[in-house]
Amino acid sequence: MPDAPDSLLEAPPCASDPAQESLVLESLPKEPAFRHSRLQRLADRWSHLLFLACGLLVVALIGGILYFLAARGVGAFMPLAGNTDKILTLKEVFLSTDWDPNSGKFGILPFIAGSLSVTGLALLIAAPAGILTGVFIAKLAPGWMKTLMRQVMDLLVGIPSVVYGIFGLMVVLPWVSGKWLSDSPAAGFAVSAAILAVMIVPTIVSLSTDAFESLPLTLEEGSQALGSTRWQAIWHVLIPAARPRLLTATVLGLGRAIGEAMAIQMVIGNNPQWIALMRQSTDQTPILRFLFTPAATLTTELVQELPNTAAGSTWNNLLFAMGLLLYLMTMLIILATRRLGRQRNA
């Protein structure tokens, strides 16, 4: 430990080559040039402990939240202490589309399907748009525009989701409904996915810009030397070369999208019985019905019902189980991202 600061003093600040560094270390005299005072060393040790505590706190928090969700959520399926209500089977919860807690029907399939649908649609819009914007910023835009676009993307990330929601509720919904739906309400997957796409595009753009910028210039030069046009170079060389990192960008966008609640719940219509409603109604073609039926997702249902249900009731426990499901889905996505990242490095 004591000789570490000396190496900092002696070694040139840019010496990153480990071989060179060890040479410098070996040539040093054994006795350090100066000693830290007792106080400094004490401060060093305590700050070490402080950092360790902070790190452990984060781990404890993640574990704690998982435990909290599981302890309450499992109560919906098992008789646990503090659980005053009836016990559900996994089948009637995960394989039923019927959600009507007041009459004891607890099928959460509509919420799972809703979450997947809205996230999938959002990615369908955001991934191509984001990746192409990434290509533009990294390879085509002039310098001033590159800076501008980067800053705009950072700003977009910073806008609170509730602002997107208000914009959707007050502007987009009335506009879509008046323009295309002859004044039927526009709430549903289409508008929610569009809003969600706007929210995750910045994430995808900045990650894919990095991906393209980190590609060796030789790839582009080589393909152009072989006579390819700019478009051919981008489509056949750059995008395939960056694919693992683009995939990571998309999956991170997915992670952000699936957990979003505030903006979506303002525009999606929050109708838990959307699957039944879609089956009954015959107004429009199926695809339009899917896009514009007021629906619900895991997150929106949590936001809507959690404050109003009695603690310990089946309903309340099941909402915690839904939270747990969401948590596990997000964890899975993050693990997938890490795996993709490792493949890239290998």
Binding site: L173, S177, S184, A187, G269, N271, P294
Partner: protein
């Protein structure tokens, strides 16, 4: 002389400090009732120095959950406690009448619905405004979430216990409902009367059964769209001294003076209006 009086003052302060500390009444629950209770608490604390009343929100169910577990002294709620919660021995006070009203987008062309029509609109038996005397415009129902107290009141009073149509938009707060009704063609909903008073024409009220929310129509039972704002205490889990203060405070809120002035001004109605009605809401 002087110093001894100082000492005495200090001793009294020391003796009183724990007592004063013990007289902190905490109120939690309904965000709808919160402002009224907060106003009452301010007035009450002015006339009762040494009493502290802290009011916070959280929602009706939070208020009930907390008062049952002893987490607060008074739980305020827009709905009755569940049977399970009542078994714990909590005590109900009906504080005020919360009047509700039907509202719609201004373009629907209907100013009044009778009880049957109103029921049909929300159960989905009727799907176009022209079937109840309005324009040729699809009916868009805007509801609160299944667990909402307002929705429970609506189901009981407007739908007479029948099920809501599943063709609906759901918004989790009265403010969001008001916004949705104002911006959605053909929208109809059920909301606290106070929101209609502040609508500025963005949405319109619909008279129910030819009656409007006035003192006469409410006390005669002609206008049934209301619920009670409740306060619950938990004698089993509260320090008796604090409980006494809490009960005195609730007594103040139920006093004729408070009911006839502050309650009316806040958009609620005195509970005395329905004293004669046999009603369980």
């Amino acid at each position: 002389m002087k110093s001894s009086s100082l000492v005495r003052a200090a001793l009294t302060a020391l003796l009183l400090a724990p007592a004063a500390f013990a007289q902190t009444v905490t109120v939690m629950g309904s965000t709808a009732l919160g402002p009224l209770v907060k106003k009452a608490a301010e007035d009450y604390m002015k006339s009762h120095p040494g009493v502290q009343i802290a009011v916070s929100g959280g929602g009706s169910m939070t208020g009930l959950n907390q008062v049952v577990s002893g987490g607060c002294t008074i739980g305020i709620s827009d709905v009755f406690a569940t049977p399970d919660q009542e078994k714990t021995g909590i005590r109900n006070y009906n504080l005020v009448i919360e009047p509700f009203t039907l509202i719609a987008h201004p373009g629907v062309g209907v100013a009044s619905l009778n009880a049957q029509q109103a029921e049909d609109v929300f159960t989905g038996k009727v799907n176009n405004w022209k079937e109840v005397g309005g324009k040729d415009q699809k009916i868009v129902r805007v509801n609160r979430p299944t667990s909402s107290g307002t929705r429970a009141v609506q189901q009981q009073t407007v739908l007479h216990g029948k099920e809501f149509s599943n063709n609906q938009l759901v918004q989790d707060s009265s403010g969001a409902v008001a916004n949705t009704v104002a911006t959605t063609m053909g929208a109809v909903s059920f909301i606290e009367l106070d929101f209609l008073n502040r609508a500025n024409g963005r949405f319109v009220g619909i008279a129910y059964n030819g009656a409007s929310c006035t003192k006469q129509d409410v006390s005669s039972g002609k206008y049934p769209l209301f619920s009670f704002g409740h306060a619950y205490t938990n004698p089993a889990k509260t320090n008796p001294q604090v409980l006494k203060v809490a009960e005195d405070f609730l007594g103040y809120m139920l006093s004729q003076h408070f009911q006839d002035t502050t309650v009316l001004k806040a958009g609620y109605m005195p509970v005395a209006y329905v004293k004669s009605l046999k009603t369980k809401l």
